[in-house]
Amino acid sequence: MPLSYYLILSAIMFLIGILGVLLRRNPLIMFMSLELMFNAANLAFVAFAAYHQALSGQLFVFFVMTVAAAEVAVGLALMVAIFRTRHTIDVDELSMLQG
């Protein structure tokens, strides 16, 4: 299959991720959308790695996955803490930090 198929799929996944983050108010869904964007990037990395026959792209994917895991851990912990104090995790309710 040509490289462009992978890249188009990657772009579609990224767009879905962006729309998810922008439109959804539930942080869990927003995290899933974030993951979608990460994986869109990962897909692009491995597609280019296969195309160029270079390992560095695959190497980066592992880094991204590690960072994403850590990020999700911190994010979920934050959400638990926020829910305990505010009894809601709707991101539009969490707008106290404003000018």
């Binding site: 962006i18 983050v21 922008l22 108010r25 991101v91 539009d92 969490l94 707008s95 404003q98 000018g99």
Partner: protein
């Protein structure tokens, strides 16, 4: 003791009063009223003792010496030191200041004890003596300085003390502001004169490269005539401010708002004579500028006449003395303006004696009236208000109620009028004799002033002490305590025999001062002039007696006999020729208007507008940025996305 061991004592004339201040400041509360008064009086006495020792030293080494205490500043070619000058002129001033000052300190213990109670704040007793000692220290700096800048330090110091003491009861007076206003007026008017002093000093440094007496005075004639004229005329401005001469005399009558010992010490005997001392000290400069000399002469002579005319119509016992002081200062300034330094200094000394005596006597009268008022008020369920213990119209008959005060006041008054053989006769006669040699016109002006002087003395004596009491307070007045009458007695003795300092024939003071300043006019005793002066004095007294003494007023409401005869003119005299009103219209009101214009439209409108406008602009921008920071995380994400998209578009399109 030799001069070499005595002269180095000179810094102590300043340091002892400062020590008095320190003790009273730190321990005054514990010392109590008597302790504070004692410490302050001893400080003044110590200063006097040092002055006497210096005089003893000068008797052995009359050319004197200048003593360096410390370097003050050295900038480029400007070298100014804290240096003291011990010579016959400065020590004479020291003796007068500390001698009369000591007596007034002692008197103040008694006077302020009563005064602080009449005014309802006994705790202010200590503050009064702190100011008084500070004044002695500042005045000593003024007279003992060896250069003009140090003299200026003292000059400003006495001005400050004058301000503080005029406003001693700063919350009293007309509408609760009268005294504060009087103090402010004195301060501001004096600043005008001080500006003259400063400019004179700048010019002097520019012309001579030095401010020290020892360097400038011997080279006085070297400078260009125009420069000398500038220096001397600006010094004359300083003199008119400090010594209350035309046209800056208006502050002195208002300065009577201060407690009476202050009027005696600062506004009669010592501070106001600083201008006379300045001219006497700078005589070589004035001698080199004849035009300035005649300016000084005429300022003095006209002031002497002008103030005397006002004095005849005043009703406030202290205001009469205030205008009399201005008039007598006019005599002194005229004398030093002529170059008759000995005559001027002689009159300065005798005037210090008899005018301090008159003021302190007036203080005793005021206290007596206050006591009479209180006694009467107690007896009749107290009706207060509307009582002015200084108004001579409510006095009368105090001769029998206050005999000691009467006799000393009589001596002081006759000395002021110039009746032989009291001190004022000899000193005034020397001035008149000098004027006769220099300018007949000035001689006539001064003679008229002398006539008016004798007249207002007679008027005051008659109104205060003769006839019958014209108020309950005057009928119930009582004599003052010994702490007040003893200094009065000493001053009366000095006022009576002070003429012995420079009797015709002996010329004690003349020979003494010759070691320091060479008078331009030798005012010998002239029997004819003396005779004329005596006749004039007696005529003035007689005239006053005819009007006021022969048929004394019986009620306070009766019109002044002089007012009946002079009609409209009397109102002009009583209102001081409307000088205050003229100055208000010419200077004060426009200045206030200008200030209000600057404060209102300019400061609050323009300046504040610019500053507030800058602030408003920042706030507007801040609000704009604030609306971006709305707290919704999703809108931040959108902004980030748009931003990233824009950056990428830019990078790609480049």
């Amino acid at each position: 003791m030799t001069a070499e061991t005595l002269f180095p004592l000179v810094p102590w004339v300043v340091l002892i009063p400062l020590a008095g201040i320190l003790i009273n400041l730190l321990a005054g509360r514990a010392l109590g009223e008597r302790g504070v008064g004692l410490v302050a009086s001893l400080a003044a006495l110590g200063s006097f003792a040092v002055s006497v020792l210096l005089a003893v030293g000068l008797a052995q080494q009359p050319e004197g010496q200048s003593l360096l205490l410390a370097r003050w500043m050295s900038i480029g070619s400007l070298n100014v030191d804290w240096a003291f000058r011990v010579d016959t002129l400065s020590v004479t001033m020291m003796l007068v200041v500390s001698g009369v000052g000591t007596l007034i300190h002692i008197y103040s213990i008694g006077y302020m004890h009563d005064d602080t109670r009449h005014n309802g704040d006994p705790a202010r007793f200590r503050r009064f003596f702190l100011y008084l000692n500070l004044f002695i220290a500042a005045m000593m700096v003024l007279v003992s300085a060896d250069n003009y800048l140090m003299m200026f330090v003292g000059w400003e110091g006495v001005g400050l003390c004058s301000y503080l003491l005029i406003g001693f009861w700063f919350e009293k007076g007309e509408a609760g502001l009268g005294n504060a206003r009087a103090a402010k007026k004195a301060f501001v008017v004096n600043r005008i004169g001080d500006l003259g002093f400063l400019i004179a000093m700048f010019t002097m440094f520019w012309a001579f490269g030095s401010l020290s007496f020892g360097e400038v005075l011997p080279r006085a004639a070297e400078a260009a005539p125009a420069v000398l004229l500038a220096i001397t005329l600006f010094f004359l401005l300083a003199v008119t401010g400090k010594s209350a001469q035309l046209p800056l005399f208006t502050w002195l009558p208002d300065a009577m708002a201060g407690p009476t010992p202050v009027s005696a010490l600062i506004h009669a005997a010592t501070m106001v004579t600083a201008g006379v001392y300045l001219v006497a000290r700078s005589l070589p400069i004035f001698a080199a500028a004849p035009a300035a000399q005649s300016a000084v002469l005429w300022v003095g002579a006209l002031t002497a006449l002008f103030a005397a005319t006002i004095a005849v119509a005043q009703t406030d016992i202290k205001r009469v003395l205030a205008f009399s002081t201005i008039s007598q200062l006019g005599f002194m300034v005229a004398a030093v303006g002529m170059g008759a330094v000995v005559a001027g200094m002689f009159h300065l000394i005798t005037h210090a004696f008899f005018k301090a005596l008159l003021f302190l006597g007036a203080g005793s009268v005021i206290l007596g009236m206050e006591r009479g008022h209180e006694r009467h008020a107690q007896a009749h369920d107290g009706h207060h208000g509307g009582f002015d213990p200084q108004d001579m119209r409510f006095m009368g008959g105090l001769r029998s109620r206050m005999p000691v005060t009467f006799w000393v006041y009589l001596i002081g008054g006759l000395a002021l009028a110039g009746v032989a053989p009291l001190s004022g006769f000899f000193s005034k006669d020397e001035i008149l004799a000098a004027a006769e040699q220099v300018s007949p016109a000035v001689f006539v002006v001064l003679l008229i002033a002398a006539l008016l002087t004798a007249f207002y003395v007679a008027r005051q004596l008659a109104l205060v002490f003769f006839g019958q009491g014209r108020s309950e307070a005057a009928r119930a007045a009582t004599e003052s305590s010994p702490v007040i009458t003893v200094p009065l007695g000493i001053l009366a003795a000095l006022a009576a025999v002070g003429g012995a300092l420079n009797l015709p024939g002996s010329h004690l003071l003349g020979d003494w001062l010759h070691h320091t300043v060479e008078p331009l006019v030798e005012a010998g005793f002239n029997p004819l002039t003396a005779g004329i002066a005596l006749v004039i004095a007696l005529a003035g007294l007689g005239l006053g007696w005819l009007l006021y003494g022969r048929s004394p007023l019986t009620r306070a409401e009766e019109p002044d006999p002089l007012a009946v005869r002079l009609k409209g003119l009397f109102t002009w005299l009583r209102r001081k020729w409307y000088v205050d009103e003229i100055y208000n219209a010419l200077f004060v009101t426009p200045y206030t208007r200008l200030s209000q214009m600057l404060a209102g439209p300019v400061d609050q409108g323009l300046i504040d507008g610019v500053v507030n406008g800058a602030g408003g602009m920042a706030r507007l921008l801040g609000n704009l940025g604030r609306s971006l920071q709305n707290g919704y995380v999703r809108s931040y994400a959108l902004i980030m996305l748009v931003g990233v998209a824009l950056i990428f578009t830019f990078l790609l399109a480049r």
